[in-house]
């Protein structure tokens, strides 16, 4: 890790749905403090929040690592959940495996992964069924 990087690390807890989003909030606050432009801050916040919600819904939590560089933000969201059976299908808008109780909470519309892709400049998903999923995302700063 270079000297120009600020690293933030979070354990994403799945025990309490109400607390989901705390890591994203902390990242957003930090980016605002650093004076990053608001459009970029929002893109990072949306991608991170969607990812965090996914970890809580599907994977019983996990670990989030965010590296803030002068010209980009890298996010790594790693979980030990069930993995994604078909990544291409999961990337389709409207496709969701979220249960009804999650929809009742306002999520699970099948927009999470596509929205993460839309709000980032690079995104890669490594997933092995029964082992877990790691999502790498980068947002370039302007």
């Amino acid at each position: 890790m270079s000297e120009d990087c600020i690293r933030l690390e979070f354990d994403v807890d799945s025990e309490n749905f109400a607390s989901a989003g705390m890591a994203s909030e902390a990242v957003k606050t930090k980016l605002k403090q650093l004076g990053i432009n608001m459009q970029d801050v929002r893109r990072v916040a949306i991608a991170m929040y969607e990812g965090e919600i996914n970890m809580v819904i599907h994977a019983k939590g996990g670990k989030a690592t965010v590296d803030i560089f002068p010209h980009r933000v890298d996010m790594i969201l790693a979980d030990k959940g069930p993995g994604i059976a078909d990544i291409d299908l999961a990337m389709k808008e409207g496709y969701s495996t979220a249960p009804d109780n999650i929809r009742a909470l306002g999520f699970g519309a099948g927009m999470g992964l596509p929205n993460m892709k839309k709000n980032t400049d690079a995104m890669k998903i490594d997933s092995v069924q029964g082992i877990g999923t790691t999502i790498y995302m980068t947002v370039n700063l302007h």
């Binding site: 607390s19 929002r42 929040y49 919600i53 306002g106 927009m111 929205n115």
Partner: protein
Amino acid sequence: MKISKIVEILKAEALTCKDKLSDEVISACAADMMSDVLAFVKDQAVLVTGLCNPQVIRTAEMMDIRCVLLVRGKRPDATILDLAEAKGIVVLCSPHRMYVACGLLYKAGLCGGEDCV
């Protein structure tokens, strides 16, 4: 439109950040699915929703939404209100249903974003 005008039009009650009622807002969105708010909302400052949980406030925070209007008389618990207060988000509670609340606001000049003049 000032947030205080929304309070007046919708017979609403302000539950948090009452010092911000004179803030101006120019556009609004309405949804019960926070997934849709995250995917489709652009720069709307007001979120009209029937959903009442902490994720509504967190979604508003991520999207820089400054005012959350709860319809159908939904009353948030202290956790939600404390979170909104900490994030500087005005929470309003109106007895109107979603359709009527949106109609009244639109009629009064609060646009949906892409239709703003």
